[in-house]
């Protein structure tokens, strides 16, 4: 009998899944060892989008980091802007005005909506549900229209400044937002009808990519993927920044951390984020949007045009950069994928001495082999979509 068994041995097939593969969109490579269609082993190779973000930041002034942060998680750039600004403000020890906080919250949540919509939609797309994808892309375009109205660009926002914002909310923003949300909710319910109870979709995502809560924490999961495991951890609640403690919203949590939970958590978070934006718009106070600390701000145009001292000072701050006191700081915000942390070290000069980013999707990507071993090759698709690995953020 052993003779037959020897003859009937199976050979493993090693496949390069990516970087130029539809599911890895050029930013990651899976080295998959297959037995038939079952994954025996999976190695993740990242680094296809490495730009040297951290080093680039250290070569520019504190201000010049902002355009680079746009490109971390390029689907929710405003959260990255806010995260970096908050970290620098914590380093300096300034507190931004109330109105600024509210506007930042609005900007963050709009970004989060766009991020989750893109993620859920792309997840559907790669499972073949093209129509659901385009419904959410339509909604996302509407949200991006709002962001464009606010910042002047859809993706490369560069909106937040140290100690404030580039500009205030434009006229008619509130009304436009409410209109957009109305349409978004319609599209949300359409996608919900197309996917949430569709058995084909449920079969594909349920019980795939499960993660026990302990292991998820051990891996360093944060954000929707951790909440899907049943851990109610959200930086906005656990460690409220800006004015999140004044907002009334719920933290959706799942149970087993499979892809279906991640999907449901994200769908629910879209709703919660819309609620937050509406509340913030309702409570929005008047007043300034920037701190009145000229040393940490680029000078206003009025001052530059009319006052020679301001002009000189302007030259000084632009060329030398603002100079936070020496020290180090870590500050995390809740980005679309989870805890986006900035660890900054200042040596008192105009440039960051060290600018380290804790990308939320790096631990998630690292857990791919754990989630995928023994599953089918088709399961890579929803799992990889639902951890929402963004090359710009993961590789930096």
């Amino acid at each position: 009998m052993s003779e037959i068994a020897k003859d009937l041995h199976t050979e493993h097939m090693v496949i390069n899944m990516g970087p130029s593969h539809p599911v890895t969109h050029g930013t990651v490579k899976f080295l998959v060892t297959l037995d038939g269609e079952t994954i025996e082993d999976l190695k993740v190779e990242i680094g296809y989008l490495h730009r040297g973000f951290e080093k680039m930041c250290e070569s520019g002034t504190w201000y010049q980091v902002f355009p680079y942060t746009d490109r971390l998680n390029y689907v929710s750039p405003l959260i990255n802007n806010v995260g970096y600004a908050l970290a620098v403000e914590k380093l300096i020890g300034i507190d931004v005005p109330e109105r600024c906080k509210y506007v930042r919250v609005i900007a963050c949540e709009l970004s989060r909506i766009a991020d989750h919509m893109t993620n859920v939609a792309a997840g559907g797309l790669e499972l073949g549900a093209f129509t659901a994808f385009l419904y959410f892309v339509e909604a996302r375009e509407l949200v991006w229209d709002l962001i464009e109205m606010l910042c002047g660009a859809r993706v490369t926002t560069n909106y937040v400044r140290i100690g404030g914002l580039k500009n205030d909310l434009p006229d008619g923003f509130k009304q436009k937002t409410l209109e957009v949300f109305k349409r978004c909710r319609v599209l949300w319910s359409d996608v919900n009808k197309l996917l949430t109870k569709n058995r084909v979709f449920i079969d594909r995502v349920r019980d795939v990519g499960t993660m026990p809560a302990e292991e998820a924490i051990a891996y360093g999961f944060t954000g929707p993927c951790l909440r899907a495991c049943g851990v109610p951890y959200d930086v906005r609640k656990a460690n409220p920044y800006l004015v999140y403690d004044r907002m009334d919203f719920e933290v959706p949590i799942g149970e087993t951390g499979d892809n279906f939970d991640k999907y449901l958590v994200r769908m629910e978070e879209i709703n919660q984020s819309m609620r937050i934006v509406e509340q913030a718009l309702e409570q929005l106070p008047g007043g300034p949007i920037n701190v009145d600390m000229p040393y940490y701000r680029w000078q206003s145009k009025d001052d530059i045009y009319n006052r020679i001292d301001s002009l000189i000072f302007h030259f000084k701050t632009v060329i030398e950069g603002i100079k936070p006191p020496p020290g180090e700081v870590y500050l995390a915000v809740e980005s679309g994928n989870g805890e986006l942390g900035f660890y900054l070290v200042s040596d008192g000069s105009g440039k960051p001495y060290k600018c380290r980013v804790r990308p939320p999707c790096f631990p998630l990507t690292a857990a791919m082999p754990r989630m995928m071993k023994g599953r089918l090759i088709a399961d890579i698709v929803p799992t990889f979509d639902m951890i929402n690995m963004i090359g710009g953020e993961c590789d930096r």
């Binding site: 009998m1 052993s2 037959i4 068994a5 009937l8």
Partner: protein
């Protein structure tokens, strides 16, 4: 017209069968076998046996041969270039001679019994689904059922073979 078709199809079947036997590349051999099956189906059509022709295509060409191909592809059999040994060649020649003899015999038997009675009234229904079905479920019911038992035995055997392999790998 019909005769011409017969010769064309027959020639095709024979040539494809020869290719099947002589070709050393398994996939090509399998494909030639499929071609043979298809030509045979054509011959059945000429005989007015449409049902048998369709079944030939569905069962043999469509289902069984796909499995053959499947297996060949999965096993990734190397194309062997080795030559037949002398004694094997001799045996082959003998085998071909015997088969040829049998063929000649069969043809002559058919030729001799050429003046069999025409099919008569049954001819109108010959080869139709209804006729074949009736035959199958009345006259030939027992052989039909026995054949299915044979298939069942084959399935059980296959399962046992596959099962034992798993046991071995467990140990």
């Amino acid at each position: 017209m019909q005769l011409l078709m017969f010769y064309l199809l027959g020639l095709g079947a024979v040539v494809a069968a020869l290719i099947m036997v002589t070709n050393k590349r398994p996939v090509r051999a399998a494909m030639s076998l499929i071609a043979t099956m298809s030509f045979l189906a054509g011959l059945y059509v000429l005989l007015d046996a449409h049902l048998i022709a369709a079944l030939q295509l569905i069962v043999y060409a469509g289902a069984i041969m796909v499995l053959f191909l499947f297996v060949i592809m999965l096993l990734n059999i190397e194309e062997k270039e080795g030559r037949l040994a002398g004694s094997a060649l001799l045996w082959q020649m003998i085998a071909i001679a015997v088969v040829g003899l049998v063929f000649v015999l069969m043809v002559s038997v058919v030729k001799l019994s050429d003046n069999v009675v025409p099919l008569g009234e049954a001819a109108a229904l010959f080869g139709t689904t209804r006729a074949v079905g009736k035959m199958l479920f009345t006259e030939y019911l027992l052989p039909f059922e026995i054949a299915s038992v044979l298939l069942l035995a084959a399935i059980v055997g296959a399962v046992i073979l596959a099962k034992r392999r798993i046991d071995d790998s467990d140990q």
